[in-house]
C-alpha cells in the first residue's frame, strides 16, 4: 500500500497544477475512506463512481464484476453513476445487455491487461462494441481501470465523457491506485462473506449433530447451546443462556453429593487452557434426574487469553447399559461353564495348561501350575491307573492324545489327592484353528466315585435282602414260594426249607383267602401294591397284622415273571392306633362331662369341634353353633383378632406345642366374655401343624375384679393428690398470712425505730404514731379473722340473734365501704318488702363488709351493685362487681379457707384471703347459702341467702 501511495504522491508532485494535484489527493482520500467504511462491495463501488465523476466532471461511471462461475467473463452490473439518467438511458440499456469477453473492447482489455485503458474518442474506435450507442448519445472519451486483488482482476470501472479528452496519465495512475484500494474492499468483503458462510456452516453443524454442545465464557456462563444439548437436558435455550452451567447441570455427583465447581474438570481445564475428557460422571436434567454422560471441553483462546470453553457432551446411558449387558453375558457364559457338572481343562498347542474351571480345580485339588508341560501332567496332578500305584502314562491320557488330534475317553484314571482318591472319567478332544492345526486340547472329566459306589451297591443288595428286618418272600406267579429270607423265618416261624416250594396260602387265614388270587392278578398286570394292611397266620397259629408291599419281578424284556413280597409286622402299631382311638373316646366323654369349653381344630380343613360348653357358657343354641373356624373368628372381638392370630403364628413358627391367648368373645346376648384360651398343637411328620385341641376359660369375673382393684388404686391416688393439693394450699396460706403480718410489722417497726433514733417535730411524731396504730389494727384484724374462722369451723362460736332489718344494714355497710373505695361507685337496689330477719347483726355486717371489700379489692373500678330481695322464705342479697372475674373451676374454691385464687393477678392483693371463708361460715351458721357466679374478665356476682327465722334452729340444735 505504501508503495502505491508513494507512486500516487510522486505522480501528484510531478504535475504542474498544484490545485489539480490537491484535488487528486482529495479524490484518493475520499475513495479510500469510502472504501473502508462501505458495508458492501456495491456501496464502496458506488461511492468510487460518484467521487471519480465528481472529480473529472465526466457524466457516466459504471461497474463490471468478474464472473466467479465463467472464467474471463465480465458481468455488467446495474451500479451506475449517471449525471442525466434519462439522457443516457439507451446507452445504459445497451451496456447492460452486453456480453463481454476477456481482451475485447475497453473493459475486455482492462480485464486482460490488469491495467487502466484510455480511449480518447470511442465513437471513432472500431473495437468499441457500443460505438453506435456512443454516437447516438454523443459520447466521446472513455477510460476504465481494474479493481485488483494482487494480480487478479475482480471488477472493472468505466467512465465516459461527452468531450474528447486526451489521456491524463496522472489521473490514470491515481485510478490504478484506487483500483488497488477497492480490491482491498472486495477482498475484505469476500473474507467476511466466507466467514459468515463458515459461521453458518458451523451453526448448522452445531444444530445438526446429536452431541450436546454449549459454550461458556470465562465466568462459566452459557453463551450458546445447540438443539441436541437442550433436548438432552430438557431445558429451553433461554433458560440456560447466561446461566452458570456448572450450577445448573453439573452441580452434584451421581449419588447426590455436591460437586464443587473448583473440582470440575471443565473449570480446571479452562484455567490451564487445556481440554479435558470425562466419561464417568452425570449431568442433571431440568426434571431433577441425571444421566451418565461423556463430555469434553476445549478452551476458546483469543491470543493467549482464554475467553471461555466449548463443551461437547453425550448421554451414554445406553452405552453404559450395553457395556453392563456385555459384561453380564460374558459372566453368564463363564457361569455356564462353571455350572457344568464336569471339570473342564484346556491345554494350548504347546502342551501348557491354559485353563481349568473351578470344578476342574475342585476335582483335581489344585489349579493350573504355570509353565507345567503336558508330559508333567501325571506328576503334577497325581494321576494314577485305577486301583494301582502306577502313574498314568502321559501318552495314554486323553488330553495328550487330543494334542495329537485324537478324541478319546478313559475311565481308569484316579487322582490321588491327600484327602482321598478320586476316580475319573476323562474325555478329551482337539480344537482346531482356522488352518486346521490343533490349537487347543479340551478335556472334560467327572468324579465317578458315586457310579463306582453304585456298582458296588448292586453286589451288596443280595446281602441286604438277606439281612433285612422286613420279611422278603419271592413267589411265582402261581403263588409258590421261591425265596424266604431270615426275617420271614422270624416273622412267620417257618424255616426256608419248610416253605420253599409250597403255596403262599399257608400264611393266609381262612377269611382272607380271596386276597391272594386278586393280588396276583394285579401283579401280573405289572402293578405294584404298597402298604397293604392285612392279617397273616404264623406257624404257631397266631394272627399278626402285617403291611405288605408286593412288586412284580420282570425279565430283561419287561415280562412279569415272579413276585416279590415284603411284609412288616404292624401288630404293635395297630395296637397303638386302637389305644389312641380309645383315648379319643375318653376325651369325648370327658368333654361331655365338663362345662368348660373344649375345642378341637382340624388345621387342614379348619373344621372346629366344640363340646356343649360353648352353648352353656355363651348361651348359644345348638343350631346357632357352626363348627368352623370362621364362626369362632367372627365372634372374637375385632380388636383382639389380629393379636390372637399373630401369637398363634409365632407358636407354630417356633414349632412349640402350647399356645395361650386372652381375648374377648361375643356371647349370644351380644355382651363379651373375657376368655383365656389354651391350646395344644400337633404336627405331622413333615412338621406341619395339623391339629390343635384346647379349652376356653371364661375369666370375665377375674377381669372385673382386676378392674375394680385398679379403680380403687386410682381413687386412692386421687385422694392423695387432693391431700397434696390441700397441703400446698396450706403452705401458700401460711406464706400469704406471714407476708401480710410482716408487711404490717415493717411499718410498725420502721416508724418506731425512726421515732426512737431521730429528732422529728411533735406533729410528725404524732403522724408516725397514727401510722403505727393503723398497722397494729391491721394486724389485730387479721389475727381476729384467723381466730374467728377457726372458732366457727370448730363450732365454738355462738350467734347472738336479734331482729335485723336487712336494708338498713346494707345502707350502713355501704357507707362504711364507700370511705375506702375512692375509685368505685356503690349502687344499692333494695326491695321494699324484705321482712326483718332473725340474725346476728355483727356477723351479718361482717358478711356484707367482706363481700364489698372483696368486690372493691378485685375490681379496678366501676360500679358495685348491692341488691336485696325476698324469695320463698329467704332474703337474697347480691353483690355484683365489674372486676377481674373468677375462672369457672375456682368458683367453688373461693370459699375454702386456703384458697386465695392461685393467680398472677391477685397475688399482690392485700389481706389474709379469709373474708370469703368467714362469710360462708356465718351464712351457713344462719342456715343460708352462699355462692358466686362469674366469668373471667366480666365481673363476678356473689349471692347469699338468709332464711326468715326457721333455718337457724337446725344449726343450733346441732351443737
Amino acid at each position: 500500500m505504501i508503495t502505491h501511495r508513494a507512486t500516487a504522491e510522486t505522480a501528484i508532485f510531478n504535475g504542474h497544477d498544484l490545485q489539480r494535484e490537491t484535488s487528486l489527493v482529495h479524490l484518493l482520500l475520499a475513495v479510500a475512506a469510502a472504501a473502508n467504511n462501505a458495508t458492501t462491495i456495491e456501496e464502496g463501488m458506488q461511492v468510487c463512481l460518484d467521487e471519480v465523476c465528481a472529480h473529472t466532471g465526466w457524466p457516466i461511471g459504471h461497474l463490471y464484476l468478474v464472473s466467479s462461475t465463467t472464467e474471463g467473463r465480465l458481468i455488467s452490473t446495474s451500479t451506475w453513476h449517471l449525471a442525466r439518467p434519462e439522457a443516457f438511458d439507451a446507452f445504459r440499456r445497451g451496456t447492460e445487455a452486453l456480453d463481454l469477453e476477456c481482451g475485447v473492447g475497453l473493459v475486455g482489455s482492462v480485464l486482460a491487461s490488469g491495467k487502466p485503458v484510455w480511449i480518447t474518442d470511442v465513437s471513432k474506435d472500431s473495437s468499441f462494441a457500443r460505438r453506435r450507442e456512443a454516437q447516438e448519445t454523443d459520447i466521446r472519451s472513455a477510460f476504465a481501470f481494474p479493481v485488483l486483488i494482487g494480480t487478479e482482476v475482480v471488477a472493472v470501472l468505466e467512465f465516459f465523457s461527452q468531450d474528447a479528452v486526451e489521456p491524463d496519465e496522472p489521473l490514470l495512475e491515481v485510478m490504478a491506485n484506487i483500483g488497488i484500494q477497492l480490491g482491498r474492499v472486495v477482498e475484505r468483503k469476500r473474507a467476511e462473506q466466507a466467514l459468515r458462510e463458515s459461521e453458518q456452516e458451523k451453526i448448522a453443524l452445531l444444530q445438526s449433530t446429536d452431541r450436546g454442545i454449549y459454550g461458556i465464557d470465562n465466568h462459566g456462563l452459557c453463551t450458546f447451546i445447540n438443539r441436541s444439548g437442550v433436548q438432552m437436558l430438557g431445558y429451553e435455550p433461554e433458560e440456560l443462556l447466561g446461566k452458570n452451567m456448572h450450577h445448573v447441570i453439573h452441580h452434584s455427583h451421581a449419588g447426590g453429593l455436591p460437586y464443587p465447581v473448583e473440582e470440575c474438570p471443565i473449570f480446571r481445564a479452562s484455567r490451564t487452557g487445556e481440554g479435558c475428557y470425562v466419561d464417568d460422571e452425570v449431568l442433571w436434567k431440568k426434571d431433577g434426574t441425571c444421566f451418565s454422560a461423556e463430555y469434553s471441553s476445549h478452551p476458546i483462546k483469543k491470543g493467549d487469553v482464554i475467553s471461555g470453553s466449548v463443551v461437547s457432551f453425550m448421554d451414554i446411558t445406553e452405552r453404559r447399559r450395553a457395556e453392563v449387558e456385555l459384561l453380564n453375558s460374558e459372566r453368564t457364559l463363564f457361569q455356564f461353564v462353571e455350572a457344568m457338572p464336569v471339570g473342564v481343562f484346556v491345554l494350548d498347542s504347546k502342551g501348557e495348561a491354559y485353563y481349568a474351571d473351578r470344578k476342574a480345580q475342585h476335582i483335581l485339588g489344585k489349579g493350573i501350575l504355570p509353565g507345567a508341560s503336558a508330559d508333567q501332567l501325571a506328576e503334577v496332578y497325581q494321576a494314577y491307573i485305577a486301583g494301582t500305584d502306577k502313574a498314568y502314562p502321559v501318552e495314554l491320557m486323553p488330553i495328550a492324545r487330543a494334542l495329537q488330534g485324537q478324541a478319546s475317553t478313559v475311565t481308569d484314571m484316579e487322582i490321588h489327592r491327600p484327602d482321598r482318591i478320586v476316580p475319573l472319567e476323562v474325555s478329551a478332544a482337539p480344537i482346531y484353528d482356522a488352518n486346521g492345526r490343533v490349537a487347543y486340547a479340551l478335556a472334560t472329566f467327572s468324579d465317578i466315585t458315586e457310579r463306582k459306589q453304585g456298582e458296588e451297591a448292586v453286589s451288596r443288595l443280595a446281602s441286604i435282602v438277606a439281612s433285612s428286618s422286613d420279611a422278603i418272600v419271592g413267589k411265582s406267579l402261581e403263588g409258590i414260594i421261591l425265596s424266604w429270607n431270615s426275617s420271614a423265618e422270624r416273622l412267620y416261624g417257618y424255616s426256608a426249607e419248610e416253605v420253599i416250594g409250597r403255596s403262599i396260602a399257608i400264611l393266609v387265614p381262612p377269611d382272607h383267602v380271596d386276597e391272594i388270587p386278586e393280588m396276583l392278578e394285579r401283579i401280573k398286570q405289572g402293578e405294584r401294591i404298597e402298604h397293604y394292611e392285612t392279617v397273616r397266620r404264623c406257624k404257631d397259629g397266631r394272627l399278626i397284622h402285617v403291611s405288605l408291599t408286593v412288586s412284580p419281578i420282570k425279565d430283561g424284556s419287561g415280562n412279569v415273571v415272579a413276585v416279590s413280597a415284603t411284609a412288616r409286622d404292624i401288630t404293635q402299631q395297630k395296637q397303638a392306633e386302637e389305644a389312641l382311638q380309645e383315648s379319643e373316646r375318653r376325651f369325648q366323654y370327658a368333654a361331655r362331662a365338663t362345662n368348660d369349653v373344649l375345642w378341637d381344630w382340624n388345621m387342614l380343613t379348619n373344621d372346629l369341634w366344640f363340646n356343649q360348653g360353648v352353648r352353656i357358657q355363651f348361651g348359644y343354641e345348638e343350631e346357632q353353633v357352626q363348627y368352623h373356624m370362621d364362626w369362632w373368628a367372627g365372634l372374637l372381638h375385632p380388636d383382639d383378632l389380629q393379636n390372637v392370630y399373630a401369637t398363634l403364628q409365632v407358636v407354630i413358627d417356633n414349632h412349640e406345642q402350647f399356645w395361650s391367648g386372652e381375648y374377648q368373645f361375643r356371647r349370644a346376648d351380644g355382651s363379651y366374655a373375657h376368655i383365656l384360651d389354651r391350646g395344644y398343637l400337633m404336627y405331622n411328620v413333615q412338621g406341619k401343624a395339623v391339629r390343635m385341641i384346647g379349652s376356653m376359660m371364661d375369666i370375665s369375673a377375674r377381669k372385673r375384679a382386676e378392674a375394680e382393684i385398679a379403680a380403687a388404686f386410682a381413687a386412692e391416688h386421687a385422694a392423695n393428690q387432693e391431700l397434696d393439693r390441700l397441703n400446698t394450699l396450706k403452705g401458700e396460706f401460711v406464706s400469704i398470712v406471714s407476708h401480710e403480718f410482716r408487711t404490717a410489722l415493717t411499718g410498725i417497726q420502721g416508724f418506731s425505730e425512726m421515732m426512737r433514733d431521730e429528732d422529728f417535730s411533735l406533729q410528725e411524731m404524732k403522724e408516725f404514731a397514727a401510722d403505727i396504730n393503723k398497722d397494729s389494727q391491721r394486724l389485730n384484724r387479721m389475727i381476729s379473722e384467723l381466730l374467728d374462722l377457726d372458732r366457727m369451723e370448730s363450732g365454738r362460736m355462738a350467734l347472738n340473734l336479734e331482729s335485723v332489718d336487712l336494708n338498713t344494714l346494707i345502707h350502713h355497710v355501704a357507707n362504711l365501704s364507700r370511705r375506702k373505695a375512692e375509685g368505685h361507685e356503690i349502687s344499692l337496689q333494695l326491695s321494699d318488702n324484705v321482712p326483718p330477719l332473725l340474725a346476728d347483726r355483727d356477723k351479718l355486717t361482717q358478711v356484707l363488709f367482706n363481700l364489698l371489700s372483696n368486690a372493691i379489692k378485685y375490681s379496678p373500678g366501676g360500679v358495685i351493685t348491692v341488691s336485696s330481695s325476698a324469695e320463698q322464705g329467704v332474703a337474697h342479697v347480691r353483690v355484683a362487681d365489674r372486676g377481674i372475674g373468677i375462672p369457672k373451676e375456682a368458683l367453688e374454691r373461693v370459699f375454702d379457707r386456703y384458697s386465695r385464687i392461685e393467680s398472677e393477678k391477685s397475688r399482690h392483693i392485700q389481706g389474709t384471703g379469709l373474708g370469703l371463708p368467714i362469710a360462708r361460715q356465718i351464712v351457713e351458721m344462719h342456715g343460708g347459702k352462699i355462692w358466686a357466679e362469674s366469668a373471667p374478665g366480666s365481673g363476678s356476682v356473689f349471692h347469699f341467702t338468709i332464711p326468715f327465722g326457721s333455718g337457724i334452729g337446725e344449726r343450733d340444735n346441732g351443737e
Binding site: 401480710e740 410482716r742 408487711t743 415493717t746 417497726q749 420502721g750 408516725f768 399482690h908
Partner: protein, 131 residues
C-alpha cells in the same frame, strides 16, 4: 460516708411502707423516688438514673423479678443494682431473684439502719467504679 448522697428508686405498693421509706431516707439526705409497681418504677429509673433500686417482689402490673429482667435487658440500665424486698422468705424466691439479676435481698420487716447500710454499701461500690 454521710455526705455521700444517693438517688434511690423505690418500688413498693404498701402506702405505709412508702411513707416510712420516704421519711427515713430523706432524713438521711438521700433523694427518694417512689413507685407503686414495677412499670412505674421502670419509667422512673429511665428518667432518674438512680444509684440503687429497691423493689418489692410481689407487686401488681410488673413484679420485682420482671423489673430485674427488664433492667438487665437495657444496656444503659443494667449496671444499676437492684435490691429485692420480700416478706415471704422462701429459698426458691431468693434464688430466682438472683437469677433475674438482683444484687441483694431485704427481708421484711427490716430496720431503717439496715436499709441505709445497704444504700451505703452499693452506692460506695458503684461510686468508686463510676467516678
Amino acid at each position: 460516708m454521710e455526705n455521700r448522697v444517693a438517688k434511690v428508686v423505690f418500688c413498693e405498693d404498701d402506702p405505709t411502707i412508702q411513707k416510712l421509706i420516704r421519711v427515713a431516707l430523706r432524713s438521711a439526705g438521700h433523694e427518694v423516688y417512689m413507685a407503686s409497681n414495677g412499670s412505674e418504677g421502670l419509667v422512673l429509673i429511665e428518667n432518674v438514673l438512680p444509684n440503687i433500686v429497691f423493689s418489692d417482689v410481689s407487686m401488681p402490673d410488673m413484679d420485682g423479678m420482671q423489673l430485674c429482667a427488664a433492667l438487665k435487658s437495657r444496656p444503659h440500665l443494667a449496671h444499676i443494682p437492684v435490691i429485692l424486698m420480700t416478706a415471704s422468705v422462701q429459698r426458691m424466691q431468693v434464688e430466682e431473684g438472683y437469677r433475674h439479676g438482683a444484687k441483694g435481698y431485704l427481708m421484711k420487716p427490716f430496720s431503717m439502719s439496715e436499709l441505709r447500710a445497704k444504700i451505703e454499701e452499693y452506692v460506695s461500690a458503684t461510686g468508686t467504679k463510676g467516678s
